[in-house]
Amino acid sequence: MNIIVCIKRVPDTEARIRVDGSGAGIDKTGIKYDLSPYDAFAVEAALRLKEAAGEGEVTLLTLGESSSQETLRKGLAMGADRAVLLTGEVTLDGLATAKTLAAELEGVEADLFLLGIKAADDDQQQVGPMVAALTGRPCVSGVSSFEVNGSTATCHREVEGGSEVVEVDMPAVLCMTKGPNEPRLAALKGIMAAKKKPLEEKPATEHASRVRLASLSEPPARAPGRIVGEGADAVPELVRLLREEANAI
């Protein structure tokens, strides 16, 4: 069972995001970076599948700066076998990113290609299905868990107002979201082993971004709220405000 997992290095989800002086970037001071949480679900799914199959290889692939090595090493420490870093700029044009990844994945033989459903920085939720379309492979997005049966994968996905079970022919692209399996933490042994695992770094094929970032802004601060009162006695006043002031009920 050979699985390729596309991952991304993003600011830790607890990071406070501030716009920098240019007005078109974030202040990176003090920001810790980590594997995007959705990608961690994808790595975990790949490792479990490989372990269940008892054979195969899990390869990590990313586009990013050299600093992404650290993120790839984390995935290797979790248990992936090898990693490829395409060094290049990541833009807000998801199609440009997808083309770079697709160029690397074109013709590659693997049973499954996994991605996190979205990256926790740009939140575009588009690269996975784009990679699938560009490489001509079938794709299921929003997969919380799946099982492989021969040449198909049975995927469980959540949709508005319900859930679906979807069968897809392999090789397939699956975009993973949160599911029953918590991503594992790397053990010390894994961290030591990761240092010796192959990590290939090479320049990415460049695709010009056709999405121009004009500016970045912090969300408008919410007008300061008020404490209506304490305990159940405050409820009538809350209800009055919701009806008369906020027009919310």
Binding site: L92, S215, L216
Partner: protein, 329 residues
Amino acid sequence: MANILAFAEQREGQLGSAAREAVSVAARLAEAAGGAAHAIVLGGPGISSVAAGLGAYGATTISVGEHDALADYNPESWVAPIVDQIRSGDYAAVIFAATTLGKDLAPRVAAHLDVPLASDVTEVELSGGTVSVTRPVFSGKAFANLEIEASPALVSIRPNVFQATEQDAVGEVSTFTPDIDVSALRVRVIDRKSAAEGSVDVSEASVVVSGGRGMKDPENWGLLEELREALGSDAALGASRAVVDAGWRPHGEQVGQTGKTVAPKLYIAVGISGAVQHLAGMRTAQTIVAINRDTDAPIFGVADYGIVGDLFDVVPRLTAEIGALKAGD
């Protein structure tokens, strides 16, 4: 003069707010561009009768692809008719709703057309032939203002953010039957479970009642269920990550990072302290109410109205008061 296309999503043969919002945005952009708004709907036989209703939201023409295989969403059969429609129309922009379906479909269409996609936008304008959008990044901790330097510009709009605007207008419906080889589909939906009858998804609800650790025990969710019922049929239950991770509530209810982003008219956070990942998923709600024992809980920093106190006293009272109010309406 530029026309704008809206992909109007149907679910179980019905057009909901996602379709109306997409068509309304297309109509607004078309007016700015001096062109017309068109809509495309894909569905099973008979869908054209409901699709006609989109004329009232500003679609001058409504193309309806009818086929047994289009009754339910399948990416393998839905992409081609939309790509064909876009290619035939010389559109300046194409609007999708950023629903589960739209987020799955739009990237595939973008890849086939070789044009970029701006996902989940909260603002979109068309000026001087250029489409510019605002969209949340870093889970809503910042907003990016983007210009799309390609035509057509593909955009998916965040549900509940844009107004669906009814007009005194009628659209012209034309029906076509796409050529679909069902046996060639590489993706097959083999089971579909609907949530409880009449329930609305947290990402689409106009009122959300969310519970966190402060609820103490999954057995106590009946309190929130009663409050939800009092608020009406547009209300849904949400949950913090902590209670989903603890197995108290299903992941489908999780609000925030690794869960759903919601923008309801009213968000009531009960026993939720307000971790930054949770705030990211609900801070664009119009009105936020927090009920929490801890005066210092971060949720009070984003709440419009807060009650400090024991939720087990406050929530039943709130349910009773809202129930009485609705009964008097």
